[in-house]
Amino acid sequence: MTAHPAPDVTELSDDTLVEMQRRMLRIRRFDERASKMVKRGAIPGTVHTSIGQEAQVVGACMALGDQDYMTGNHRSHGHPIGKGAPLGPLMAELVGKSGGVCQGKGGSLHLSNFEVGSLGESGIVGGSIPIAVGAGLSAKVLDNGRVALAFFGDGAANQGNLYEGLNMSGVWKLPVIFLCENNQYALSTPAHTVTSGVIADRAAGFGIPGVRVEDGQDVLAVYTAVNAAVRRARSGEGPSLVEIVTYRYNEHSEGLKLGVDYRNADEKAEWVAKDPIVLFRAELIRRGILTDESADALEAEVLKEVDEAVAFTDASPYPELSVAFDDLYTDSVYVTRHFNGSPYGTLEAAR
């Protein structure tokens, strides 16, 4: 398999740079719409938005090749979008429609899209880190040139499985990128109050590179750091830990109302002032890649894509009841034996 070309940041084509902005916009508008839909009850349950973290998501995803793997967490709408997935099946999944990427069985917390290498989100903080290590292991054993990237937050950085994963992939030189999305809060808990030392520095204990990107709102800075880790992984040198400092604008989850103001307005304003999408739009215009008009047109195109994703969702039926009994196993022995045509119950009765 040919390796992803992984151009240096200075060699990115104009089209790629515009695509970065497009994907950041997709994440922003998709999650803004999802937030509204939660609030008016159109999306059941809740969602965790990536609004404010778009540069960190897209910079990392675009350093990966189409064939590369990634795993996510509860805040992972942005990851498949960042990897180029179409929006319709993602939105349909949030609503629980049959056209959803997981046929409505995963929802916001368990989005996955294997077509773009997204091996799934875990609703358990840190739970998908070992999965990414395993994807790296298969890439290494099968020698297929792929790499695996685990997205996790500053909260998951204190889960033990991260260190088991760093150690195993370090000693086996697995092509894994451990990407810490440090949005500085684990729900309401400030990372600095529960984190001893610097997350990126922990890599040193495993003899692997640890990089902290202070300006995680700069998509090119993120791309540069992750690209270096991807190149290293692909060349057989092993894993890296990349910590990206970023900020989520919304509450931990939509609709959550806490009595405690754990983030003050000044802090939020500071981060909004360096909004990744606003900054990169200006950069693209400064470089003469976009004009005000074409930048506006791009934004309109993305809004239209989100409208279309909602229309796709509306047109998609809810899944048949029998879907609840599909896909537990690859064979049907179990369900058949327990529920179908047997003296001990029927599928109908099981409902």
Partner: protein
């Protein structure tokens, strides 16, 4: 046919699977040094062929750090992306270190991703009960995993089943947990040295009988057979049925064996509450109640932790004496003095 030990049969199945498919890898603590005897040639062949590390190389024989959570999770991730790992977790009580990966990832990923993932991975572990290893090494935890939809759970009791079921487990595209009772590792049987596959979900009638039925699980199976032998001396004819796999469970086989005599004893080395015996008993009571001539009786390990001292441990598990006594109780007979305490 050749005489194989249970452990030898596991090793033979692993070797067959490694040879048959390059995607099969073995992952676990101490697998490189063949500490437990399942990753190397047995007897003379070991000297000739060397261990698996020499035969298949370190790329496919992955000696791991002691990190159960990432061992299990990485095996799941590798299975989702093209490998077919066999994971050796040594002791069954080590599985708890990776409970999140078993319950939230292995069992759920295919389902909650709408069928996008298949997870062809086998997790082997041994239950060292009855060997004076104390409370941390003596667990029989398979019922916990029966309670997790999405996992397959198998408990072979004989070398021939260990070999055939393990091959089927490796071929399964779903996660399979195989629980090996360590007390069975040394048991021997004539085993077909050629490849064969024993299907999951099909039990085995070990012994035909007409007066009572024993449904026995894992290490309780040979004890049930010994009890049946003793009872035969008393003129009591006992059917012994081994489901062999608990998920999928051969419900038809269990119900048929139970209904045949209507007097049923379920022998299961797990704890009593919510054990395999509890599920089997409930199925029998629900579905063939009219065929029963006495309430189903369980012989299990009491809901008690396992003490170290042999004086304390031995009596706790279902043994031939307790199983035979349970059958006699079902039939309303008492043990003749000559065979009491077999």
């Amino acid at each position: 046919m050749t005489v194989m030990s249970y452990l030898g049969a596991i090793g033979a199945a692993q070797k067959e699977a490694m040879v048959a498919d390059d995607r099969v890898v073995i992952i676990g603590e101490d697998v490189e040094a063949n500490v437990y005897g399942t990753t190397g040639g047995a007897g003379k062949s070991r000297a000739v062929e060397g261990d698996f590390t020499q035969q298949f190389g370190r790329n496919r024989i992955r000696n791991t750090p002691i990190s159960e959570e990432v061992i299990v999770g990485a095996a799941i991730g590798a299975a989702m992306t093209g490998l077919r790992p066999i994971v050796d977790l040594s002791y069954s009580s080590f599985l708890y270190m990776a409970m999140d990966q078993f319950v939230n990832q292995a069992a759920k990923n295919r389902y909650m991703f709408g069928g996008q993932a298949s997870i062809p991975v086998v997790f082997r572990s041994a239950m060292f009960y009855g060997l004076n290893t104390g409370a941390h090494h003596s667990d029989r935890p398979y019922p916990m995993y029966m309670n997790v939809p999405g996992l397959k759970v198998i408990t072979p009791a004989y070398p021939s089943d260990a070999k055939g079921l393990l091959r089927s487990a490796v071929d399964s595209d779903d996660p399979v947990l195989i629980f090996e009772a360590c007390i069975l590792w040394g048991s021997k049987e004539d085993v077909d040295e050629n490849e064969y596959f024993t299907p999951l979900g099909v039990g085995r009638t070990i012994r035909e009988g007409s007066d009572a039925t024993i449904i026995a699980v894992s290490g309780a199976v040979p004890e049930a057979v010994a009890a049946a032998d003793a009872l035969a001396q008393e003129g009591i004819s006992v059917e012994v049925f081994d489901p062999r796999t608990l998920v999928p469970l051969d419900v038809e086989g269990v119900l048929t064996a139970a209904a045949k005599t209507g007097k049923v004893v379920v022998a299961d080395p797990a704890h009593q509450t919510c054990g395999a015996a509890a599920e089997i008993s409930a199925l029998i009571s629900e579905h063939v109640f009219d065929s029963l001539r006495a309430p189903v009786r369980r012989v299990t390990t009491p809901d008690m932790q396992i003490p170290f001292s042999p004086a304390l441990e031995r009596q706790l598990y279902p043994n031939r004496t307790r199983i035979a006594d349970a059958v006699r109780a079902q039939l309303g007979v008492t043990a003749p003095s000559a065979t009491a305490g077999v």
